[in-house]
């Protein structure tokens, strides 16, 4: 495996890690309005992600850093090309992070509520914009010979990217509700499951529409005639199993499968993209690929050594922190 391929895989893994981990944070954020009924319940479900959410978001920052280091042109074209979307994403991440942290320091119910609202809005908008980003990316964008992306409104906002954004929101919500089921006791625990059943049904419909649109709007079925349908199928299977286990009260399995559903979708997008990193809708010759967008061999080899030295530690202490905070959160008396 060449270093370019290895780093494409690593970038994909970092984004999958981000969607898996921050996905349930987003879902928990949405649940502060969709599930929780009062400030005690809000506090209860926020406590489930309190010690973790920041480290989960670092997966996105690391993915961004890895893009910059390993594929500078991918980073440059995507971040400047998707300008407005990134502004919205950043604003969402800003109000979200400040919202959850500052709610701890609020003195009155009114200010606490204000921070909760920011956290909710941020948790809704962020996954939607990331979903739009990745789906419109595989659909293809007007990238010219100089690797510059000049997109029109319809390149960013179209039926596929809107459904894609919604799909990521729904997947995150399902994943988050499952996480709440896994991490809480009491009334909210029961209601999480019943809300989960409703959202799962919407998600099924969404997945089917998404699969059909993927067929018509992208070349993923042509480029990967096996992997694309298989991964889409696996997503649906994971969703079904997630729902079944959630209803059986086997929350560990339910969470594994809701997470796998997220992972399968993201994996499908990255596999369909490979070896391209950005698709030009003007001319395939203008595609950014792992070859013309990558850093030099020396940088990639240094980065590989650093990454494989550090990753075991990073994974080790992150897993340990989940172990430390493994107990369920009960409602406040």
């Amino acid at each position: 495996m060449s270093l370019e391929v290895l780093w494409f895989v690593l970038v994909a893994v970092l984004f999958i890690g981000f969607f898996f981990l921050e996905g349930f944070d987003f879902g928990v954020g949405m649940s502060t309005r969709l599930l929780a009924r009062n400030k005690h319940e809000r506090e209860q479900i926020l406590t489930t992600i309190g010690p973790f959410w920041d480290a989960n978001e670092v997966w996105l920052i690391t993915a961004g850093g890895a893009l910059f280091a390993a594929f500078p042109s991918w980073y440059a074209t995507m971040f400047s090309g998707y300008y407005t979307l990134f502004v919205i994403l950043l604003l969402a991440l800003i109000i979200r992070g400040v919202g959850i942290e500052y709610s701890h320091h609020a003195k009155t119910d009114k200010t606490k509520n204000f921070w909760y609202w920011l956290f909710f809005i941020g948790s809704l908008v962020a996954p939607f914009s990331v979903g739009m980003l990745f789906t419109s990316l595989v659909r293809g964008m007007p990238i010219d010979a100089k690797m510059h992306l000049y997109g029109s409104f319809a390149d960013f906002v179209n039926i596929y990217s809107l459904v894609g954004g919604l799909a990521v929101v729904l997947l995150s919500l399902v994943h988050g509700l499952t996480f709440i089921g896994l991490r809480t006791t009491g009334d909210i625990h029961e209601r999480a499951t019943s809300l989960l059943n409703k959202v799962y049904i919407v998600l099924f419909v969404g997945e089917v529409i998404f699969a059909v649109l993927t067929y018509f709007q992208t070349d993923l079925f042509d480029v990967r005639p096996v992997a694309t349908p298989v991964l889409l199928g696996l997503t649906v299977v994971a969703t079904v199993l997630g729902m079944l286990y959630a209803n059986k009260g086997r929350e560990g399995y339910a969470f594994t499968f809701s997470g796998l559903a997220v992972a399968f979708v993201v994996a499908m997008l990255f596999i369909g993209l490979f070896p391209r990193v950005m698709i030009s809708s003007i001319d395939p010759a203008f595609n950014l690929t792992i070859h013309n967008a990558a850093s030099g061999h020396y940088t990639l080899s240094v980065m590989t050594k650093v990454a494989f030295t550090l990753l075991p530690f990073v994974l080790g202490y992150q897993i340990w922190s989940y172990y430390v905070f493994r107990q369920r959160i009960s409602p406040k008396k």
Binding site: T62, F68, A69, P72, L90, I94, E101, G296, V306, V324
Partner: protein, 466 residues
């Protein structure tokens, strides 16, 4: 205003705001880690209270530091795509390592430190605080490695119009990094020292929680004083290095249009005329510039006009290589002046603390509270001098700021982002200052009351027993 100007304004605003919180976070968690260690060692409750109380300010600062930091990373690609393309091979690596090595560490252990107190032994909590402190300092190291490359490119070659890294070791042993990193860390430590110092004197003046704030003040002054002297020495070595690596920045920071005499006098203040390229008047201190530049009382320093002629030969004659002289000149003076004032105040503070008469010194207690702003202004002006002084380059000698900007981003988009980011930052900063002011006024008693109010903490052990 064109896209370039807007992108620069946005970079200035977002970076200055971001760096408002970074030094505060670095130093607050360092002091908190010391308090946690003292708590493990001496087992006195006051150290735990100190850690919790000052830790609150750390958390408030850290939260904004994190979210404004994400923007910093994304901004290079969004506004400076051509810079990112040119520099990605060199610049991306330290950024990625920063995330992998530092961000994961600080974000994970901050969770352990915040929420783990009832689940883990005391020493683990202290260790977590130290790991967060280590993470914040490592984060600074990597981002400054990237910044140092922009000031003084090392360990690379230019191939097909792109900077290609040839030595990772050179990147990390960049002489600029070796002088820039200590100076930044000392500046950060002084910030926390003065924030804790100023809030403590405020409460001492009001005669509240005297024991608590006296103890806090003592720790803060030791840190501020050590950091102050560190700042002077590291600043001096940095200036000497600047003479060799970026003489143009040095000349601009002295508003030295013509070559100096030998020995060179230092201009304390002056009336700068950038159009006529001269100073209308100056107040000079003989010998001092020679000393600043070479640590000796002789030696002349090249002026801006000489350097412009030199650079025209080296890099082409169609560019003005002289950075905005007034900005660089005055930033340097504000930074150095406030730095000096901080050293003086921390020495006086230590003196009173040592004699135990601090509570009687009303004028001093008041000045220390006012002095909270000093490190923030000094940090900011220091960076303004460093970054504006490098203009017109982003990568000194290789890539200009004008070349760096994204060609595909429109004026409207930049206006939209600049306005939304700056308004968000202004609001957040105001809220943050109000929160810290409230904590300062309430003192540690409110913290204890809070603990009693929430007897069944959601993460407490008893909350899990049915």
């Amino acid at each position: 205003m064109d896209v370039l100007v807007l992108a620069r304004i946005q970079y200035a605003i977002t970076t200055i705001f971001h760096f408002f919180f970074v030094p505060l976070s670095i130093s607050m968690i360092f002091l908190v880690a010391i308090f946690e260690t003292m708590y493990v060692w001496k087992k006195k409750k006051i150290y735990l209270d100190m850690s919790l109380y000052w830790g609150k300010i750390f958390l408030i600062s850290f939260a904004i530091g994190v979210v404004t930091g994400i923007l910093q990373e994304f901004q290079f690609g969004m506004n400076w795509s051509e810079y990112s393309r040119f520099m990605g091979d060199v610049f991306g690596a330290p950024l990625a390592v920063e995330a992998l090595l530092a961000f994961f560490m600080e974000s994970t252990f901050i969770g352990i430190w915040m929420f783990g107190r009832n689940k883990l032994p005391k020493w683990t909590i202290a260790l977590s605080a130290w790991l967060v402190a280590l993470g914040t300092s490592l984060s600074a190291l990597w981002i400054l490695a990237a910044n140092s490359f922009m000031q003084e490119p090392v360990g690379f070659k230019v191939e097909n119009g792109k900077a290609i890294l040839t030595s990772f070791t050179a990147l990390l042993t960049n002489p600029q990094l070796l002088v820039e990193y200590p100076h930044t860390i000392f500046g950060a430590l002084a910030t926390g020292g003065f924030v804790i110092g100023g809030i403590s004197t405020y409460n001492l003046l009001k005669k509240r929680n005297i024991e608590f704030f006296k103890k806090s003040f003592n720790y803060a002054m030791v840190v501020a004083c050590v950091a102050g002297f560190g700042l002077i020495f590291s600043g001096h070595t940095q200036a000497q290095h600047l003479m060799k690596s970026q003489p143009m920045k040095m000349a601009a920071s002295e508003a030295l249009w013509e070559d100096s005499g030998d020995p060179a006098a230092w201009t304390l203040i002056g009336g700068i005329d950038t159009d006529k390229k001269e100073n209308k008047w100056e107040v000079n201190i003989p010998y001092l510039l020679s000393y600043l530049a070479y640590s000796e009382f002789d030696g002349s320093v090249e002026g801006l006009k000489t350097l412009q002629a030199k650079y025209e030969k080296l890099y082409g004659d169609n560019i003005n290589y002289i950075p905005p002289v007034k900005t660089v000149f005055w930033s340097f003076r504000i930074m150095a002046g406030f730095g000096g004032l901080m050293v003086l105040l921390s020495l006086i503070g230590l003196w009173f603390a040592n004699r135990g008469t601090i509570t009687n010194q009303k004028w001093f207690l008041r000045s220390m509270t006012g002095a909270i702003v000093l490190p923030f202004i000094a940090n900011t002006t220091g960076w303004i001098m460093t970054e504006i002084g490098r203009q017109p380059w982003t990568v000194f000698g290789y890539y200009t700021t004008a070349q760096s900007v994204s060609p595909n981003v429109s004026k409207g988009q930049l206006l939209f982002s600049t306005i939304s980011f700056s308004s968000a930052y202004v609001i957040l900063t105001i809220i943050m200052i109000m929160m810290v002011a409230r904590i300062a006024k309430e003192g540690p008693d409110a913290l204890l009351k809070e603990k009693l109010d929430t007897k069944v903490d959601l993460m407490d052990k008893e909350a899990f027993e049915k």
